[in-house]
Amino acid sequence: MRALTFILLLLITNISSFAQSISIGLSYNYLYSKQLDKSIQLYNFSRPFLENKQPLFINGITADVAFLFKNKKQIKHGINATYSYFGSEAKNINYSNRFNLHFINLNYLIYLANAEKFKKLYSEIHMGVSSSALYRRLNGEAFMVDDKKSKSLGIGANIGVKIGYHLSKHNIHQFSPFVFFGYKPYIYAPKNEAVINATQELITKNYMYALNVRIGFTYKINLQKRSDVKTEIK
């Protein structure tokens, strides 16, 4: 863990030295995944002995960090990492069941801003890899199968478009509301149904796709010289 933190810090420091700006964001995340829905629906259908049904994965929260590389053009590029969390919990007598779903995305991003035409509106295109991790907790404890945490890991791709608006006139610090439309066309996650419904490929295949919409705020620090920033933000 220490080594991982060290590598991460090293990476961030390294990237920062090439970065024109760093931004962090927080957003509400609406998720739709047909396969995850089906697995939970099957779980509810097959267990009439549970009075309170398991909710679908719908509402989540996402934190993200992005670096834009030094570039004086209107089209910039950078990298972005996001972490998203979704939960599904149902409490029944003797049986409080929770599924925790995490996504980590690493993206290459293209930043588009045309101050002349669109004032403070900007957009970003994200493309990259997405990883997922699904866990189960039963009665407040990690659900163990053969002394191992019940989990399903997934890997795949994701694309997305972000549209934001720079609120402040400040050259260095910028605060922007944004909306993001994301699509994960394919995540190979063969154990999702096994974690949720304790069956394998009874109703879903070994993959999922997901659509998501995020709405939130980004705080951005411009790291380049003030004079350079002024030319960009008018």
């Binding site: 609406y30 259908f45 267990r47 049904k53 679908l56 029944n92 069956t199």
Partner: protein, 446 residues
């Protein structure tokens, strides 16, 4: 429009624009499968084993009219309970809950039912002595690229001599099969889908109690007993079922939840006949003889689990996980060994054969401390005729073909019809039960 107004309007529009569709989308996303489907047809379930009972339970939860027709006078199928033999109730059929990642494990947790992890140590009767380890590990049947040959042949191919034959027989017996008929390849292929976990649990009461109290209880008023279905005429709009007493039942859909042995032996006549592909698939299943014999002794002289007997492949201390002062040994006999004992013809001869073997292993202690026995020969049960379905050599996708619905009218359930790797288990039977109802509802959805 000034900046303030723009911000106000755009943020309201954004929030509204997002919340409205997300609310509509969320409302469209139901928490339950088939929540909107209403079916006013009638469903008949043939067989009140775990699969049939659970199918009924799901049909009831969906508000669908159903009847379960059971050939015998009791529900439970290959599950049962014996009171009075020992100072604790005994499971005469299925008794282990396999794994904790299963629908049954969820039910058990919900109802706060006591279970004990079975951590009994395995011993072997090998070269005429009891040993805890063997020169070579005989558990060689869970890996990729196994050939489609029998367990026995594969073991020989891997250099296991004939001294291991009875151990391999006991391992195959765990699958309800003989080592000479169980396919190494197809058995492993089935196991690949197993997601329940490898731990086994025993109930402080019985497994039968769980099924009885929480599943059978829900549907018992819909069961008609002593109704052995002999024909299913699905040629017309309504399906017409006839039992051995010539009672006639009509329904729109039928779930066939009988043991695979009944289908293999064509004990139910389908009119018109099922396609050859389907009947061929039935015939590819193995369903060997199976027997459980409980032996009560005045003292415990035996191992917790002993593999390798010639008469019985596996002797298991039945009292593990129970609150008892009695000493009960379970002889778990499958395949050829069960066939040999079945051929003896009566319970006394079966018991004597087992005592004789135990005496030879434990220097006469078995007969000296023997109190009584209880024999449960599933081969001789007229509506079961065996232990459970297993994968034979050349099995291929017979399980998938057998389990497939036919003509949107006939649906198949039972442990053998579990296409999800959980066949041969109660939770596998339960899964096949709700899968059959899903298949029915899919036809209605269309």
């Amino acid at each position: 429009m000034n900046r303030r107004d723009f911000l106000k309007h755009s943020s309201l529009l954004t929030i509204g624009g997002l919340l409205l569709p997300s609310t509509i989308l969320t409302a469209c996303r139901k928490e339950n499968l088939y929540e909107d489907i209403k079916y006013d047809g009638k469903v008949i379930v043939i067989g009140a084993g775990a699969a049939g009972l659970y199918a009924g339970y799901i049909l009831k939860s969906m508000g669908i009219n159903f009847t379960i027709l059971e050939a015998s006078s009791v529900y439970g199928g290959r599950m049962g309970k014996l009171n009075g033999f020992a100072d604790y109730p005994i499971d005469t059929g299925a008794q282990w809950m396999h794994g904790r990642n299963s629908i049954i494990a969820d039910l058990v947790k919900t109802k706060n039912i006591n279970t004990t992890l079975d951590e009994t140590g395995l011993s072997y009767w090998f070269n005429n002595q009891i040993v805890n380890t063997l020169p070579k590990d005989p558990f060689i049947f869970e890996k990729d690229n196994l050939p489609d040959i029998s367990f026995k042949d594969y073991a020989h191919q891997q250099g296991f001599g004939s001294e291991y034959d009875k151990i391999i027989e006991a391992i195959a017996g765990d699958q309800g099969a003989s080592s000479s008929t169980l396919s190494a390849y197809w058995n492993n292929k089935d196991e690949e889908n197993w997601v329940s976990g490898d731990e086994d649990f025993k109930f402080s009461e019985t497994y039968f109690d769980v099924i009885e109290r929480y599943i059978a209880q829900e549907v018992k008023s819909n069961i008609i007993y002593n109704s052995q279905i002999t024909s299913v005429d699905h040629s017309g709009d309504k399906i017409v079922l006839k039992d051995s007493s010539n009672n006639i039942y009509e329904s729109n859909k039928v779930i066939v939840a009988v043991p695979i042995s009944i289908l293999k032996l064509n004990e139910i006549t389908f009119i018109p006949a099922l396609p050859t592909e389907k009947t061929d698939a039935f015939s590819k299943f193995g369903m060997g003889p199976g027997m459980k014999v409980f032996l009560k002794f005045s003292s415990k002289f035996y191992e917790e689990v002993l593999y390798g007997g010639t008469v019985c492949g596996a002797y298991v201390d039945d009292t593990v996980g129970k609150t008892t002062s009695d000493h009960v040994l379970l002889a778990f006999i499958m395949g050829d060994q069960a066939a040999n004992l079945h051929a003896l013809g009566n319970d006394t001869s079966i018991t004597n054969a087992l005592l004789q073997e135990l005496d030879s292993i434990y220097n006469g202690q078995a007969t000296a401390s023997f109190i009584s026995s209880s024999v449960h020969d599933y081969t001789s049960k007229p509506f079961i005729k065996g232990a459970y379905g297993y994968s034979t050599i050349g099995m291929g996708n017979a399980r998938q073909i057998a389990a497939k619905p036919f003509a949107n009218k006939l649906f198949f359930a039972g442990e053998a019809m579990n296409i999800n790797g959980h066949h041969q288990t109660v939770h596998g039977a339960v899964e096949s039960g709700y899968k059959a109802v899903m298949d029915i509802l899919e036809t209605i959805k269309k």
